[in-house]
């Protein structure tokens, strides 16, 4: 499977480099009547990081042996939109995204060469029908966020109704690829009585499927959805979802969503919120959330039978943009657990647009969790310096209610300097210094080179 991932990434790289080289000199011109009108886009991001690390910290942050790491990561994206087929105009879209990483030195824990295909699909549209094949994702409703290699079919049914159905093999997380790591714990784990009791993951047993029926009009939108996911061929999740929104007026919007775990017949997660905009410059939002953590575990988890406790969260956000260059944002949420221990989060942000080139931001956060909490202060400054050069500086400070590994505070300082010699090319250098319970002094630096290419032959007008 790893070989397949890497070959996909290599193919993407090759395709990208060819497409960039071939397409760059193309002029933008108005298309003729018969010409295929399409958009092409491509993006390449290269990251080189440099830092020292200690994979096994000593007690209370004491100094331990460190090693230098220099990982190099490459991301590529390629997209095409509204390509013609022989029998249909503007019917095909393509998307391909992949990453690859190498560790030239100090590869202690990671694979020396790694990579993955993030998305790779072909989208075909025919009148009101849609079919998508390949590695893709389906988000929202009962699925929440599902990645799979498979097929999605969709149709506009008329009168505001639409339907979608999907099925495929689950894109597995990385734990199954870690040598000697079967499910949790290693073979050497003393807690394991019988390592052979673990089933080796077989991809054929990991599949998912589902569908959604939606209705949408200007004043009202709603969708009902179903999602089933299998692990080892057995049930992992069987969810029903309901999402809705009502535009009561231009100043008042009600929305809600719910996910029902069909196996236990319980509401795994539900949210209700209202967005109020009494003035253009003032936005208010009230929100209520109800969640059962146990119902987010796979039904194949033994631990999913140990708990039915829930937590509820109530709060809201506000944003004010009526103070000239200053804008304010605030959020406050109170969390209540079944055992009545409260928690909460309060956040306030001031943004100052000093001039067209300078942005200053100050954020304070207070978080209260049942066994610990923290205050944090974050100050940020960004400024366009000269020409196509810009920079940013940030500083974070944390004050913990109870010391973490003996440290009650931690701080991080970071900065970036970026230069864009052309509209398509940009180079960024970033660095950070931090002091935390895990490192007396942590210094990291990163270089990013990004190239972005876009081409459209749809024509322009003046």
């Amino acid at each position: 499977m790893r070989a397949a991932r890497l070959s996909g990434g290599a193919a993407a790289l090759t395709f990208l480099s060819v497409s960039i080289t071939a397409a760059q000199p193309l002029p933008v011109k108005a298309p003729s009547v018969q010409q295929d009108r399409f958009d092409l886009s491509a993006r390449s991001e290269t990251y080189v990081a440099l830092f020292r690390r200690a994979l096994q910290p000593g007690p209370a942050g004491s100094l331990v042996d460190t090693s230098t790491a220099l990982p190099l990561s490459q991301y590529v994206f390629l997209g095409a939109k509204d390509l013609d087929t022989a029998w249909r105009k503007n019917s095909v879209d393509l998307e391909l995204a992949a990453w690859a990483r190498v560790w030239p030195i100090s590869n202690v824990a990671e694979q020396p060469l790694d990579g993955d295909v993030q998305t790779a699909f072909v989208n075909y549209r025919h009148d009101s029908m849609l079919a998508r094949f390949g590695r893709q994702q389906f988000v929202g409703g009962a699925a929440r966020f599902a990645r799979f290699d498979g097929v999605l079919l969709g149709a506009e049914l008329g009168a505001g109704f639409s339907a979608q159905a999907y099925a495929g093999l689950t894109v597995l997380p990385r734990w199954n690829a870690r040598p000697g790591y079967h499910h949790l714990g290693s073979d050497a784990d003393s807690l394991l009585r019988d390592a052979q009791a673990f089933q080796q993951p077989q991809r054929g047993g990991y599949w998912l499927g589902g569908g959604r029926l939606s209705y949408s009009s200007h004043a009202f939108s709603a969708s009902g959805s179903f999602h089933e996911q299998r692990e080892h061929g057995d049930l992992a999740h069987r969810n029903l979802g309901l999402d809705g929104r009502a535009n009561v007026s231009s100043a008042l919007l009600f929305s809600g969503s719910a996910v029902l775990d069909a196996d236990s017949g319980r509401l795994a997660d539900s949210r209700l919120w209202a967005d109020v905009t009494p003035f253009e410059a003032l936005g208010l939002s009230l929100e209520y959330v109800h969640t059962h953590p146990a119902l987010w575990l796979s039904r194949q988890s033994v631990l999913s039978v140990f708990s039915t406790d829930r937590f509820d969260e109530l709060g809201g956000t506000a944003s004010v943009r009526a103070l000239g260059p200053v804008s304010l944002e605030g959020a406050s949420f109170l969390t209540l657990y079944d055992d009545n221990r409260p928690g909460g989060r309060v956040e306030g942000t001031v943004r100052l647009r000093a001039d067209a080139r300078t942005l200053l931001r100050l954020t304070y956060v207070r978080l209260l969790a049942p066994s610990n909490g923290y205050h944090s202060l974050r100050s940020s400054l960004s400024r366009a310096l000269f020409g196509r050069t810009s920079a940013s500086l940030e500083a974070y400070a944390y004050l913990y209610d109870h010391a973490v590994l003996g440290y009650a505070t931690s701080s991080v300082y970071s900065g970036t300097l970026s230069y864009a010699p052309t509209a398509a090319l940009s180079v960024l250098w970033g660095a950070s210094l931090s002091r935390s319970p895990y490192a007396a002094l942590d210094a990291q630096t990163l270089l990013r080179v990004a190239y972005e290419f876009g081409y459209s032959n749809r024509g322009v007008f003046r």
């Binding site: 993955d116 988000v139 870690r178 807690l191 936005g283 500083a395 505070t409 895990y438 322009v460």
Partner: protein, 351 residues
């Protein structure tokens, strides 16, 4: 401890002050003055004998010219009234408004000839006479006349927007991604999928949600400090607090077992040979006089337990919590399942 806290905060404040000072000093050239449109259009004493002629927008701007450089006046235009030595006045010419959305294709001649506009520039470019507003109209101004419903549905931004600039274009006057947005962007994406796809590809979702990559969104976009990213700052120290505050939030992207996969790798897991037990003494009530607290914690956040103890049939929890076991029935009050007792998972205990 208090002294150390005070010293740390002091160092933070000093650090911020030094950084800000250095930054402002390094780039502290005088901000380019904003061109005084209002002064020239409204407040200038003009039209009298011996005085300057009254100005209109067309006096300086040739908006029907296609290329951008012809839309702005040259220095010779200003020097008809201003002496070449008036550098401050002439420097205002450098105030070219930033094209935050890239170049916009618009037929000015066609628009100015419309009966509703009647050759007036200010209704759209109201910022030329209002302090604090951009001289370029926001997109919401365009949408007051042009609904563009079909283009909106089909996510067609060209040819009004220059395709090359779209990737860096952020909506300023609509679709604000404010403080509430990140909390519910998943739900919004469900109901407005085509709207999201106007700007975002599936790969954009993966840049945050793909947990197989080592580079988080914060590392990939370190300059985007206005983005509401989750793993900002010293996340490694506070991640346990964040997970406890909102037990299901991590599960949006991370499977519970990935916690331990990382902990083992970093040598901070009890599942690593020789590691210390992370639980306090008496955690399971095995110390004389202690009160078992693990049940309370497990009921509150079973996801946290699963991050280490999710081991299928080898889960040490069911050594005690099984039929006839010391820990008794693990199913809490109200627990139910539609599955048959013959299901493999049930047979761990009931087989």
């Amino acid at each position: 401890m208090k002294q150390r806290r005070r010293a740390s905060w002091l160092s933070y404040v000093l650090g911020v002050a030094v950084c800000l000072s250095a930054f402002v000093a390094a780039c502290g050239e005088q901000a380019t003055p904003r061109f005084p449109h209002r002064l020239h259009l409204v407040e200038l004493a003009c039209g009298k004998p011996g005085g300057p002629s009254c100005l209109t927008c067309n006096s300086c701007h040739a908006v029907s010219q296609q290329e951008r450089q012809y839309k702005l006046p040259n220095v010779g235009m200003c020097q008809r009234c201003h002496r070449p030595s008036e550098t401050r006045a002439l420097s205002a010419l450098a105030t070219v408004p930033p094209r935050v959305s890239g170049e916009i294709s618009i037929n000015h001649d066609q628009h100015l000839a419309m009966p509703g506009i009647q050759g007036q520039c200010v209704p759209c470019h109201s910022g030329v006479v209002r302090e604090g507003e951009s001289t370029l109209p926001p997109m919401s101004k365009c949408l007051t006349c042009h609904e563009h419903e079909r283009q909106w549905q089909n996510a067609e931004c060209t040819p009004c927007h220059d395709d090359r600039a779209l990737r860096r274009t952020k909506p300023r006057s609509f679709l604000q991604h404010d403080a509430a947005f990140m909390r519910r962007h998943g739900e919004l994406g469900t109901l407005d999928k085509s709207l999201c796809q106007s700007c975002h590809t599936q790969a954009d979702c993966q840049s945050c949600h793909d947990v197989t990559q080592d580079l988080t969104a914060e590392l990939r976009k370190p300059e985007a400090f206005d983005g509401a990213f989750v793993h900002r700052g010293d996340f490694i120290t506070r991640h346990a607090i964040e997970a406890e505050a909102s037990p299901t939030r991590c599960a949006t992207c991370h499977a519970p077992e990935t916690c331990d996969a990382c902990h083992v790798e970093r040598g901070v897991s009890a599942n690593r040979r020789g590691a210390a037990n992370p639980h306090p003494p008496g955690w399971v009530g095995n110390v004389l006089g202690s009160r078992s607290s693990h049940g309370t914690e497990a009921r509150r956040d079973i996801l946290a337990c699963a991050s280490c103890h999710e081991q299928g049939p080898a889960t040490n929890c069911i050594r005690c919590h099984q039929v006839g076991g010391y820990g008794g029935n693990p199913h809490p009050r109200g627990w139910q399942s539609a599955r048959s007792p013959n299901a493999e998972m049930c047979r761990y205990c009931h087989g």
